[in-house]
Symmetry: D2
Subunit: 345 residues, 4 copies
């Protein structure tokens, strides 16, 4: 069986295991205050144009999201996001568990617009008696989204502008950042991301690391005491250098960008094959996640050879499914799938 | 500089990196529902005599502690522990952050007694109007403690008995479990631990793993929905098999016990050297952490060659410090220290 | 200016102030363990046919809602309600502040259906890997709703049935209970309410009391330790008898039902006048809250003589507004309004 | 039976019920934005010399304490208090329920010293790696304390100075403020209280009101958004003017000070009688709470005629008990007790 079910079904890029093995006899101080975390931070900063950024290394995506939100918000603050947002649907209420309301806005492609955010912020701003309502104080967007779509630079600029106008923090969940940056249609760089938001993450788990996510805090106000929030939320690895080594390896020669770009190329080949063979997309995604609509027969045929994810039922005879490529996808795996699409569906 | 500062200053036992490397081309389902987690669970169970135990693999010690406590307690429940307990002093209020009061009992050696627990539980039980007070519902002890001391089987039996009598869960934090079991004076086995408490952890981070802690839940009531609590608290690793592989490697041939025993032997050699050279213990510890009282001059001399931890000031001319051995300690490192103790202090 | 802005703009029914004055020289034990709370509880129970119910007296509606929810749910549980539900929009995220997600379902008239609830519960039940999602465990409905509408007995029976099927608690927020029971179209009694849900409130604040809400817990499992949750959440009045006296006064001779019925009669007169003069309802409400659509001119005219609540803009020239009657509404106030509707709009 | 069990065993001072009755036909806007709350605020401010103070009216003491603390602190902040402090022992972990650790300092008379606070703050300030610890950010003291004792002006000045030095908020719980100010030994005025702390409460429940506590926030930073925290924590009374009327009545002609002074005079008479008849104090209190040590025989004798509170067992034949006077104590009640002390013990 070939796995296209997600982008975290293999260990790590070999360079990472090599780096871990190579340094295994070295000893380091704990909790992220070590040579490697500093080096990784510096390597990432080369892509940012934001020397004052504070970069921390956490263990997983859910942890990143609720720790950042808990650190940034006061108890009566809420966070705006798409109703499809990861924090709203896939994290067991972790954000609410920290005490904060999520104001979910309707979305069909995983994205929300500056206009939607403005309406929500305006509603609160225009209340005469505000104290009956939570105050929207943060906007959470994912780049790319849970449906593989990406924001254009103009869209992010507009969202940024609304956030500035209404005093909202902008938090970009970049669990799959590499795959978004690698999209042909993408016109955003990490520099733009750093410039337009207050805090964002760069996912390692889904982009070649064993585990780990970098959190980049550009807003100085949010930098304060962040390590205390990390520790309190179980997000400070005792052997912090293990994360530093991984991110240093991924960023020092651009490996992060190379392996995610390759994955997107594979995804585009796959997308093209589906398209050419009349299999419609459920959502038009330019990144490593492809949502297509299969007939029951097609679904059953492919299920015998590939592991992929059921998304939803479309009608009696059709389902939407997700095929994922990743840094660990091999060309022969993609070729096998394309061959099956062409010849056997 | 030679590091005796803690037991998590090196990566992992080589066997673990080998196992990770060997399986790196394999692909697995996520979130701990994989072959390796099951295997690791089974390997651990061989030492337990508790087939109904549920075993989960989490990422770090603070996370284990607050997740277990959040999962077990209702909002008005409190947890009893030694005032020196890790949850009370070193975890940034993570337990209170989940809403629960810690009832800290005075302790001089890191341990609390059944009598102390009984008194606390009795106080609540005897209240006529209970609703003004939190209800003690869990007892947290560490084995070994933060001072390297261990509970005897009789002590744990007595604590267990009080817990049964007053409906308290007993939670044993085994972040350093291996070092406690390896102590010459120890008369407890993992079987005893599993029999006497409701939930306990087996630390990997400090005992040879890159990272990771096993949580063993023996009380069926506490097993329910534990995975939901893990996910909500950021304690469910996407690539869960990375933890399974590590614990399978540590437990399948008893590696865990061998490497921690070696560390305790080194600590005993060190302890003996201090003793023979008239350097008093601050606390008499039979495990890998040794607390000794150094004069300022001795402290300065050793600080030039070794990294170890300041504990507290004793008087104008003396301090208490901690020397730690671990699975990664090398015999030549111990020899160097012993030589310095003998000849240069 | 005549106030139709809400149902809590006057102190209390005179009988309540008399009762408080009459007992003012008496002394009582604290925290709700007194003669009056017991008497009030017994008077309420006469209407319930539920001898095992536990009845507590709290101070306000928001407090009731979050205390009941915090007491009933575990951290990964969520509560289902209408998107218009008071807990979702008017309580400053108090429920999320206790750590729980609200799953808001779309509603146009303030009500949700058994089918909607079933779909939500079914979604969770059918998940293969549940731990990524909060578990719906409670349904919150208001009777009457925030739009003055009421559930029929059949609707509540169906909701009850779904709740039983999926193990959901049913919580009925009766902040305006009296006005719902008094509706001509209503076919529900307090007996039905007690039979069909696990916990409900009977509002005093909006129904003749100075302040205070009765919480009736019919599900024995939810009764346990409720007083501890009250105290922890600031919901236990030191001089608890003040609440007992108020509820005993309201319920001992059916005063509660008489004064709320009168208010609904006034509301129906008002509704009829609007209708006869071509002023449409925004929502068809059979209770004391009337939502009508006024032209800008009508709005301005009435604003000079009456205080009432802006609800929302309908179009350039129309707004929806709320007129509320209450136990304190005087016939001459209603007459004045009706006269203006007939002759001056 | 005569009640000396506490200071909240009667309804309210008659002037308060009169004021409520007199205004009962008036109508007001809700949530504390009314004429009476403003008037009450102004009356209180006449005693403060702090025109910028923000004054809010909440419903009860526990609610005040956790709402103030939740509003002031960030998740990793802790609050320092005496181990006997009300928030530490009598509020069902309400503070921890908001996520904050209480750092309880040893106390024998209910008070803590500036030196103790400094030591605690210094400990954190001197940590090299702070993120493992909660940061003390607030000091909570009660005036008078739970044992009836009071801080001198010099003691409060010293505490204030330490708080300023270490950036700690000072919060004074004045649930019994009137009784403290009325003590002969007291050298503090409300002006001093307002000057020396960041936020304090003035209790109504125990000092003549039906219910209600004024919260005076002098630190502008803590004033921000406080009403949002009130609403979120169920601490905003819908009919807010009920609290305004009560506090306006208590403060407009100094009634608050007169009735609490009378209660302290009664307590001093009682104290004198105990003293003259050889019955020792458990703690020397200058306020309305008197703790004395009774023999079992004395305890039994008095228990037949008076209701008072058991404090603790002293030895086989002695117990410490609390006698409380209050605004509602009658001279004949005190005379009866004094007579019994003199003649029948």
């Amino acid at each position: 069986m070939i796995r296209f079910n997600n982008d975290y079904n293999h260990g790590a890029h070999p360079a990472i295991l090599e780096a871990l093995t190579k340094t295994n006899n070295e000893s380091y101080g704990g909790y992220g205050l070590d040579f490697w975390c500093e080096k990784a931070s510096n390597e990432i900063k080369k892509y940012l144009d934001c020397p004052q950024a504070a970069i921390h290394f956490l263990l997983g995506g859910t942890q990143v999201n609720y720790t950042v939100i808990a650190a940034a918000l006061r108890p009566f603050h809420s966070v705006i996001c798409a109703d499809t947002g990861h924090i709203n649907v896939h994290e067991t209420g972790a954000v609410e568990n920290t005490g904060h309301k999520i104001q979910a806005l309707p979305s069909t492609d995983g994205k929300i617009t500056a206009a939607q955010i403005k309406e929500e912020a305006q509603l609160y701003a225009s209340c005469e008696i505000k104290e009956h309502f939570t105050k929207p104080k943060m906007v959470y967007v994912s780049f790319p989204t849970e449906y593989g779509t990406i924001y254009s630079k103009q869209e992010l600029e507009e969202i940024h502008k609304v956030c500035q106008e209404y005093g909202l923090y902008l938090f970009i969940d970049g669990a799959r950042m590499g795959y978004g940056l690698a999209a042909t249609a993408n016109d955003i760089s990490l520099k733009d991301v750093a410039r337009l938001c207050d805090v964002f993450s760069i996912g390692g788990t889904k982009c070649g690391a064993l585990f780990g996510e970098a959190v980049v805090i550009t807003n100085p106000y949010l930098q304060e005491d962040f390590r205390s929030y990390m520790k309190q939320n179980g997000a400070m690895l005792a052997k912090g250098w293990l994360l530093g080594i991984q991110f240093a390896t991924l960023f020092q020669d651009g490996l992060y960008f190379q392996i995610t770009q390759k994955a997107v190329e594979y995804a585009m080949q796959m997308k093209q094959a589906f398209y050419e063979n009349g299999i419609p997309s459920y959502i038009d995604s330019p990144t490593n996640q492809q949502f297509v609509i299969l007939s029951t027969k097609q679904y059953e045929y492919l299920s015998n050879k590939y592991i992929f994810e059921f998304d939803r039922k479309i009608d009696e005879d059709h389902v939407s499914v997700r095929f994922c490529t990743s840094w660990s996808t091999k060309p022969e795996e993609v070729d096998a799938l394309i061959n099956d699409i062409k010849n056997n569906l």
